[in-house]
Symmetry: C2
Subunit: 400 residues, 2 copies
C-alpha cells in the first residue's frame, strides 16, 4: 500500500521536530548538556507526589481512576482560577478555563479551532518549536517578527500587520511567549504588552499567550500577563505545571473568553475525552496543600544560580562578536556566535568535545539563526555549566 | 468580538456529544442507571495502583515525572506488543505501536492524518459517538451500514462501496468496533472479519479496528482481530486499558503498519509531546506484575453476571415488538422498542420513574434509532438491573 496517497493535507504539513532528530547526537553520555529544555529532575517533589498519589487513589478512587468531565478536575480549575486572579486576571472564572494534557495540547487545540489552511499566523523569530508546529499542523502560513531584548519588535510587527492587510491576507493569530521565552529567554516588556493588545484590536487578530515559565523569575516577577490586561476578549492564555511541579504529569490549561473556552472544550472531548484524571488530582492536591506555591522560591533560587553561572561564564569570552541574551527567568540563554559560525555543522564536533546545545535555526521560521545557539541552564550543576561554557567558547574560537 | 468569524472549518464541524448534553437528566441521584457506558469503579484495583504509583514515583522519578519519548513508555510498548502477539498479531513490533491518551486520542489522531475534508468514511449504524465525532472533526462525509446480529451487513456494505466508487467518492476509511460493540454489544463474526479485509483490498480503503472491549468476553474469546489477519497493511488497531484497568489513567494505544505509525507519532508529538508519563509507568508495572492479566477472569465474571441479569429480565417482557441484542461481552445491550416509541421523548419520564438509559438516535448517523435504547449493564448490581429493566418494561408498555 502506498500510504502517502492516504495522508491528509494536515498530515502532509507535519514536520519532524528537529530537536528530536538531533537526540542521538546530543544525548551522548558524559557530555555537558545545554540541549534539553526540560526542568531538572532534582527539583521534582517526588516524595510528596508519591505520598499524595497513593492517598488519593486509596481514598478517592472514583476521582482518580474513573472518567471525569472534559473541562477538568473541579478543584484544580478553582486553584488555577485563583492563581490567575492573584496575578491580575481578576475576572477569570471556571467558564474561561479548560485543563489540557500539558500546555502542548492547549496549543494544538487552539490552532485547530482558530486556523484554516492558508490563514496567517505571526510568530517571533526565534520561537518555540512546538508552538510553531501546532500552527503548521493547522496549515497556517507563518510570518515572523524579530525579537529585541524586550520582546517582539513592535514597529516591525505593525509593518507586517499592515502589509498582510494590504495584500488581503491579514494576520489572524499571533503566538507570543511573554516571559523568559523559549528559546531566547527574552521577556516582553510591560509597555509592549499594552502595544500588542492595541495592535490586536486595530488589526483584528487574536493572541495566544504561552506562559510556561512565568513563575520561574529570578529577580522581580514579570509584568502582568497580556491576558490580564485584555478588555476586548482577544487573548487565549496557556499555562502549565510542567516547569513548576513535574512535566510527566502532563497538566496544562488554557484560559480564554467563554465562547472560545466552550469551543476548545468541545475539541478536547473528541481529542481525549478528558485529560489524565490521576495527574489532575495530584496537581490539585499539591495546590491544596500549598506545595505548588511553597516550592517556587526554592525553584527560582535553584535555576537562578545556574543562570548566573552561565551568564558569568559567557562574560569571560574575549570574542567581541559573541552576543547573548540576559534572561531574568526561565531555562534558556540564546547566544549569537560570530556570523561565520554554523551551529548545526559544529554540533557533532562540539558534542565530541564534551558540550551539547541546540542549534538556533529550527527556532527561526525565516531560516535565520544559523550562527545561534540555544543553551539551557536547567540540567547541569553550576560547576559543569562553567566548564561547558568554557569548552564551548574555546571550541568556537578555534573554528573561526 | 464575534468569535464565530474566527472558527476554523474543523471547529465549525464539531458537534456537542449528545450523551454529555443529557447528563443533567440521566445523572439524577437514586435512579437506576443504564446510561453511562463506563466501567464499574468496584472493579478498579485501587490498592494495587496506589502502592505501585507510590513505589514508582519514589524509586524512579525520572521515568514517572519527566518528559518521555512520544511513542510511549518502552516497557509498556513491549507488553502491548506481547499482548497483541499472543492474540494472533504475531508480527507486531515496536515500530507498529504508539501509546495514546486513551483510545479516544488514537481515533482523533488517525482521523486527522487519514481524512481530508469531504473524504468518505464508513461507519456502522449504530456506532460509537466518540468515533463518529473524530471522523466528523476531520470533516469526513459519513456513510452508514446497518448492523446485523453478527456485525455489519457485508452485502449492504459492498453495495455502498460500489455506489461510492461509481459516484467518484470512494470510501477511504471504515470505522469498525469488532468486539461487543458500543452501543449494540454486537461482535463481528469470524467470517465477516475476512470479508471486510477482502473488501478493503478490492475497494482500496483502510480500516480502523477499535477494540476497547475485546478482553471482556463472557464465554469464549472473540475471533482474532481484523488487524491480526491483515496481510496487506490496511488495518489500524486501537486498544485501551480503560476497561481492563481504569479509564482515569488515560492509556490507550494504536497498532499500525510502520509508515502509518511513524506519521501518527509525529502528530502525537505536536498534540501532547507525550501521553501521561506516570499513567503509562503504572500500567506498565501492572503488566509486569501480571496484575493486568490476572484480573481479567474476575472482570469477565463480574460483568457476565450483570449481562445475564439484564438479558433474563428483558426476556420476561411480554411485548412481542421488543427486540434486543445478545452480547457475548462488553458493557452494552441494545434494545429496539416498539416502533411508536420515541426513546428521547420518553427519557425524562423514565428517569422520573427511576431508570436512566441513552436514547439510540445519537449513535445512528442516518437519524434512525428513534425507538432504540442503549442499556449499559456495567454500573448497577444484578438486583438493581432486574428492578430497572422491570421498571423500563413496565413504563414502555404503558406508553404505547
Amino acid at each position: 500500500v502506498d500510504y502517502a496517497r492516504y495522508f491528509s493535507a494536515e498530515s502532509r504539513s507535519m514536520r519532524p521536530n528537529p530537536i528530536r532528530a538531533l537526540s542521538s547526537v546530543i544525548n551522548r553520555p558524559g557530555v555537558i548538556s545545554f540541549a534539553g529544555g526540560v526542568p531538572s529532575p532534582e527539583t521534582f517533589p517526588a516524595d510528596d507526589i508519591a505520598e499524595i498519589a497513593a492517598a488519593l487513589i486509596r481514598e478517592r478512587s472514583a476521582a482518580t481512576l474513573q472518567y471525569q468531565p472534559t473541562r477538568g478536575n473541579r478543584d484544580l480549575l478553582e486553584y488555577v482560577a485563583a492563581f490567575m486572579q492573584e496575578r491580575g486576571a481578576t475576572r477569570v472564572s471556571l467558564e474561561n478555563l479548560v485543563v489540557t494534557t500539558g500546555a502542548q495540547q492547549a496549543l494544538d487545540v487552539i490552532a485547530r479551532n482558530l486556523l484554516d489552511p492558508g490563514d496567517v499566523a505571526a510568530v517571533a523569530i526565534p520561537s518555540y518549536i512546538g508552538g510553531i508546529a501546532a500552527l503548521q499542523n493547522a496549515q497556517a502560513r507563518l510570518v515572523g517578527v524579530r525579537e529585541e531584548s524586550d520582546g517582539i519588535d513592535m514597529a516591525a510587527f505593525e509593518e507586517t500587520l499592515r502589509r498582510q492587510q494590504n495584500v488581503g491576507a491579514p494576520v489572524k493569530l499571533a503566538y507570543v511567549i511573554s516571559n523568559f521565552q523559549n528559546p531566547s529567554g527574552v521577556t516582553l516588556s510591560d509597555v509592549k504588552r499594552d502595544i500588542i493588545l492595541d495592535l490586536a484590536a486595530r488589526y483584528d487578530f487574536l493572541i495566544i499567550e504561552d506562559d510556561p515559565y512565568g513563575e520561574l523569575y529570578f529577580d522581580a516577577p514579570p509584568p502582568p500577563s497580556i491576558f490580564s490586561r485584555d478588555r476586548t476578549g482577544r487573548v487565549v492564555y496557556v499555562g502549565s505545571f510542567s516547569k513548576t511541579l513535574a512535566p510527566g504529569l502532563r497538566v496544562g490549561w488554557l484560559a480564554a473568553p467563554a465562547p472560545l473556552a466552550a469551543r476548545f472544550e468541545l475539541c478536547m472531548e473528541t481529542a481525549v475525552l478528558c485529560p489524565g484524571v490521576l495527574d489532575q488530582a495530584i496537581v490539585a492536591e499539591c495546590c491544596r496543600r500549598g506545595l505548588a506555591a511553597d516550592r517556587l522560591p526554592r525553584l527560582r533560587e535553584f535555576y537562578g544560580v545556574r543562570r548566573r553561572a552561565m551568564l558569568d561564564a559567557l562574560a569571560e569570552s574575549a570574542d567581541p562578536q559573541l552576543r547573548w541574551t540576559q534572561p531574568d527567568g526561565g531555562l534558556f540563554v540564546w547566544v549569537d556566535g560570530p556570523p561565520a559560525i554554523d551551529a548545526e555543522a559544529e554540533l557533532t564536533r562540539l558534542v565530541e568535545s564534551g558540550v551539547a546545545y541546540i542549534p538556533g535555526r529550527p527556532f527561526c521560521i525565516d531560516d535565520s539563526g544559523k550562527n545561534a545557539f540555544r543553551l539551557a541552564f536547567s540540567k547541569e550543576s553550576p560547576d559543569r555549566i562553567r566548564e561547558g561554557v568554557q569548552t564551548l567558547l574555546h571550541e568556537l574560537s578555534r573554528s573561526v
